[in-house]
Each structure stands twice: as structure tokens, then as C-alpha cells.
């Protein structure tokens, strides 16, 4: 994933989880982020779809285990 996309995704994480120091990494999971709850998960999906102009399929959402999976999905969906 290109650095500008990583930065864009990082900004979304900081906004959704209300943590300006949050730094995403590929291995990060919901267990690593205090405010990653059912509710913020909904916001995260929604914000990512809007920001990258993409739409996730259900099976993609279900298969997503960590931030790295999310990055790969965004990369695949935004590839020209």
C-alpha cells in the first residue's frame, strides 16, 4: 500500500478511535485498540468506504483479521 494511502487510513483510525497518537501497522488487530468496539467498527468500515470510494463485500469484511488485511483490500479495490 502506498504511503499516502497508509497516511489516509491512519487519519481515519485516529478519527474513529479518537486517538491522535494512534499509529497503524499491518499486524494491528481490534485487541490492540482500546476503543475498537462494535460501534466504532461500524464507523470504521463506513469511513474507509467513503474515503477510498470503495464498497466491501460481506465475505471480505468477515475475512478481515487485522489492519494488514484491510490495507490489502483497499489496495486491491483502488488499483487502477
Amino acid at each position: 500500500m502506498e504511503q499516502n494511502s497508509i497516511d489516509k487510513l491512519n487519519a481515519i483510525f485516529r478519527k474513529v478511535f479518537e486517538d491522535n497518537a494512534l499509529q497503524i501497522s499491518a499486524t494491528m488487530t481490534a485487541d490492540d485498540v482500546d476503543k475498537w468496539t462494535s460501534l466504532t467498527h461500524l464507523s470504521l468500515i463506513s469511513e474507509v468506504e467513503d474515503a477510498f470510494s470503495i464498497k466491501f463485500k460481506l465475505k471480505e469484511l468477515i475475512a478481515m483479521k487485522n489492519v494488514g488485511d484491510l490495507m490489502k483490500l483497499i489496495e486491491n479495490k483502488t488499483a487502477a
Binding site: A30, H41, L42, S46, E49, F56
Partner: protein, 226 residues
């Protein structure tokens, strides 16, 4: 009863019965269906959505056909219970359900539901990873009092323990007002380990109870109790 009593894994032909089970378990003896209140959908709309969700058969959370066991008495569906191992595939049931809600209720309804979800989250109790989770315990009125729910729960535990002998605990969440269920689970060895009460009564406009409890037991205690 035993001659005509069968426990089996649910399949797609059981979906309508599972919807009845999910809704009744959800209401906990009240008229409140939290999904309808939170996502502003009618009962009919919700039933259609639950049908679609169940058809997807997404394991690791309570809206999954193949995670249900069904009790059959004299050829009739008498009860159902769902169970799964929390986080077995790497994602919590809570996040799986969020993804499911996002897909089936849609972005707009989820955004509109945010405030109500925030209120409901006051009663969210953490489900421990690698613990068997029991949900949507339901027995039809005419078959109550026969110990069917505990037979279903024990069978689930036996099945999971046979697949993975490293599993140690089983947990169940229920509304505190559901006293008959509480007493029933206590009989087979469950004990209360966590209780959460909402700090205001607004929550009763959304959920059937303002207090949730978590009960748990060691798997070996339940299997030895049988």
C-alpha cells in the same frame, strides 16, 4: 420422551424456526426486540434480514445456522440453542456481527443507529476468547419444563470438547430479568461472573432489560454433572 427425542445440527430447512428462536431469546419474555428499536426496522423487515443473514451461515457468532443444535420431539421442533468458540477464526463475535449489520442493514441505518448503539453498549459484556459461548436458548412453550434447553447446551459442550480438548470454559449472557433461565443454567453448574447495569432507564426503550449478566462454568464441571 427419550424414545422420540433427537438432537441434531440445524440446517437451512430450520431457518424459520431459528428466527423464532432468535427473536424469542432476544425478547427475554418482553415485547422488546432490540434489533428493531436500534435499527428502526419493523419485525417483518427484521425477519427478512435475519433470513438473509442466516442463509450466509457465518460461523463464530449467534446468527449462524450451523452453530445451532435443534431438539426434535415426536418429529416436531421443540427447541434450539446456538454455540460457538469465541474468536476461533481470529475475530470476535461482536465485530463479526457489526460487519454483518453493516452489510444487511446498510450504511444509512447503521449511521442512524449510532446513538442507540452507544446506549446499548453500556450493557456489552466481554466474551472471553477460546471460551464456548451459548446464545439464543429457546424452547417452545408446549415443551418447556422438560430440561430441553440444558440437554441442548450440554450436547453443544460435549461436541466442542470432543473436537478440542484444550477448551476450558463455557459462558452465557442473559438479561437479569430472565430468572427462569438463570435458575436453569445454575442447575447444570453455571455461576454469575459479571453483571452490568445501565446508568439510566433510557436503555429500556431499546433493550428488554437494564441489566445483563454473564454466567460461566468449567466445561469439565458441566460434563461431570451430566
Amino acid at each position: 420422551m427419550d424414545n422420540n427425542f433427537i438432537l441434531r445440527q440445524a440446517n437451512d430447512s430450520d431457518i424459520d424456526f431459528l428466527i423464532e428462536a432468535i427473536l424469542n431469546a432476544e425478547m427475554s419474555g418482553t415485547d422488546t426486540i432490540s434489533y428493531c428499536n436500534i435499527f428502526s426496522v419493523s419485525k417483518d423487515e427484521l425477519m427478512k434480514i435475519l433470513h438473509d443473514v442466516l442463509e450466509e451461515d457465518i460461523q463464530g457468532q449467534e446468527l449462524c445456522v450451523s452453530d445451532f443444535l435443534i431438539a426434535i420431539i415426536d418429529g416436531e421442533r421443540a427447541g434450539a440453542v446456538c454455540a460457538w468458540v469465541e474468536g476461533a477464526e481470529g475475530t470476535s463475535s461482536a465485530l463479526l456481527k457489526s460487519s454483518i449489520f453493516f452489510h444487511f442493514f446498510g450504511k444509512e441505518k447503521c449511521e442512524q443507529a449510532a446513538e442507540k448503539l452507544k446506549i446499548a453498549e453500556q450493557l456489552a459484556i466481554h466474551r472471553e476468547q477460546t471460551c464456548i459461548q451459548i446464545e439464543s436458548v429457546y424452547v417452545c412453550k408446549k415443551f418447556r419444563g422438560l430440561g430441553i434447553s440444558n440437554k441442548l447446551i450440554c450436547q453443544h459442550i460435549k461436541n466442542y470438547a470432543a473436537i478440542d480438548n484444550s477448551l476450558e470454559k463455557v459462558q452465557i449472557l442473559l438479561a437479569k430479568t430472565n430468572e427462569s433461565a438463570y435458575r436453569s443454567y445454575e442447575k447444570i453448574g453455571f455461576k454469575i461472573t459479571c453483571e452490568k447495569q445501565a446508568d439510566n432507564q433510557e436503555i429500556l426503550k431499546i433493550l428488554p432489560s437494564d441489566t445483563m449478566i454473564q454466567m460461566e462454568s468449567l466445561i469439565k464441571n458441566i460434563l461431570n454433572n451430566k
